[in-house]
């Protein structure tokens, strides 16, 4: 058993090694995007909708990856940022009749604020407390959404208007598939650029050795805060387009399970590495769908497969590996 798994792992590693060079990774990415772009032409409505959801998860998982993978912080309430984006749009467009595009900047500002609120007090805490505080924050946001008049209480907000883009109304499921494909590509590019930047390196320095980082003149609190805020902007962007895609949002879309699923995508794929996180997001969404035939058993089987992956490749399917 152990030699067999060892050999498979070796094979998998060699496969990844072929994609270690940035050039090949780039080519792979372009190829994937091209394939993804033609998919809706051959897929039915159901499959396209599932893929759209997977692309949303790519954006969310890449955002959480900045907090968890790059900066090494914990966040069990990431769905809250997703909710802040979605509800900002819902409130401004439904309750105040704002134009969708005009509502985006305030939604992003709200997300930044939420990032600072969650990040500020938690930065001085040890990681186990961080887990509890972020979890609590997620629940507070959901609880507020369920009880406030302006958020539509438990039934949420509906009739969120479809956005139009230079006269073209974005409303079909195919339209939204392309919107999320574009968002996912932008999220990948942004993640990549952040990783190879002054701020991205600072996240790694602080994650590796806080004292040495501080001795280098790095403001550890500020750098961690930047991670929460950046991650929350990714989450909010996901939420913004999620709300107009469905046209309706309710508190249950932003549950603790949602946060856990996103976190699972990050951990499963291998924290820190972009291709791994993308893979993780697809597995989390497509996995249960592919196993649909099995009915009730599918979630159990999915859980077992996840457990096996964790055991055989504890650092993720496609972990961060440097040099």
């Amino acid at each position: 058993m152990s030699t067999a798994t060892g050999r498979t792992a070796g094979l998998v590693d060699r496969l990844y090694a072929t994609f270690d060079s940035p050039r090949r990774q780039m080519l792979l990415m372009v190829a994937i995007v091209v394939v993804m772009a033609v998919l809706p032409l051959v897929m039915g409505r159901y499959a396209t909708t599932i893929m759209t959801n997977a692309l949303l998860y790519v954006v969310l998982a890449l955002g959480l990856n900045i907090v968890v993978g790059y900066a090494g912080l914990l966040d069990l309430g990431y769905a809250a940022f997703f909710a802040v984006g979605a509800y900002s749009i819902g409130i401004l467009t439904v309750q105040f009749d704002w134009n969708f595009w005009l509502a985006i900047p305030p939604a992003l500002v709200a997300a930044c604020l939420a990032g600072v609120i969650i990040g500020g007090p938690t930065l001085r805490l040890r990681s186990d407390y961080l887990a509890i505080v972020t979890l609590g924050f997620g629940e507070i946001v959901r609880f507020s959404a369920r009880n406030l008049e302006i958020t539509g209480r438990a039934s949420g907000l509906s009739n969120i208007p479809e956005p139009s883009f230079f006269g073209y109304v974005i409303n079909s499921y195919v339209d939204f598939y392309y919107v999320f494909l574009l968002l996912a590509v932008m999220a990948v590019i942004a993640s990549h650029r952040l990783y190879h930047s002054r701020l991205g390196r600072a996240w790694l320095y602080v994650r590796h050795d806080e004292d040495a980082a501080e001795a280098m003149g790095i403001n550890r609190v500020r750098v961690k805060l930047a991670a929460y805020v950046t991650g929350s902007v990714f989450g909010a962007i996901g939420g913004i387009f999620f709300s107009v895609n469905l046209g309706a949002i309710s508190p249950e879309s932003f549950s603790f399970e949602q946060s856990v699923l996103i976190l699972m995508a990050v951990i499963l794929g291998g924290m820190g590495k972009i291709p791994g996180v993308i893979l993780g997001a697809f597995i989390i969404i497509l996995g249960p769908e592919l196993l649909r035939e099995l009915g009730e058993l599918r979630l159990l089987l999915f859980a077992v497969v996840m457990l096996l992956i964790m055991l055989l490749r504890p650092s993720g399917i496609w972990p961060e590996r440097r040099h």
Binding site: D211, M216, V229
Partner: protein, 258 residues
Amino acid sequence: MLLNLEQVTLRFAGNTVLDKVNFGVEANTLASLIGPNGAGKTSLFNSITGFYRPQEGRIEFDGERVLRRKPHKVTQLGIARTFQNVRLFREMSVMENVMAGMHCRTRAGAFGAVLRTPGQRAEERYIAEVAHDCMRFVGVDEYADRLATNLAYGYQRLVEIARALATQPRLILLDEPAAGLNATEKAALIELIRRIRDERGIAVLLIEHDMGLVMQVSERINVLDYGRIIADGNAEEIKNNPRVIEAYLGQEDEEMVL
């Protein structure tokens, strides 16, 4: 005085580690801080760089109060340091390690990074340039792409110095830079310490147990014993100071050759 300490007292749970320490380093000099194990030398470095908070006293750097500033603020003021037990970012490349030093001299944030603005790209080039310059200066540029942890110990010490230099300091604090080095490496280190001052105009304060090295490079030596400064002078004066000799007696593991 570039760096000036007055009556600095540091206690840990009633244990006085630094006791009314008066101490200074002049601009552009090579100074050393010596003393037996546990004398409080590293604690003094930690107090200067903001890692420890002395209860009493004053610390000034170039006229600015340093005491109670956060470590990153102290670095920004122009004091860089290395650690007694090398603390590199082990899983990152030598280049990335040295680039860390430039963080406090640059400013691009998330926006610049995502949009790759011209300003951000120019800054990245500048960071790389300074990092290469510092690696060349200490002689590790050929290992730029290697993981720090894969380097021989002596080179790791050099990378730490390069990283400190990249913060563009006016004073650099080296905590036992010669520990674990062989004779050839020590000779090269002496040369490097001199070049840091001569070519870069950076003052050096050195903690070191290797007396041969200390006597060779230091223009001024302070001796710390049980948290107190017991002597202050040049190599000749320190060698012949009876209090210093007494402090080192019975420390058989010391390489004090007087």
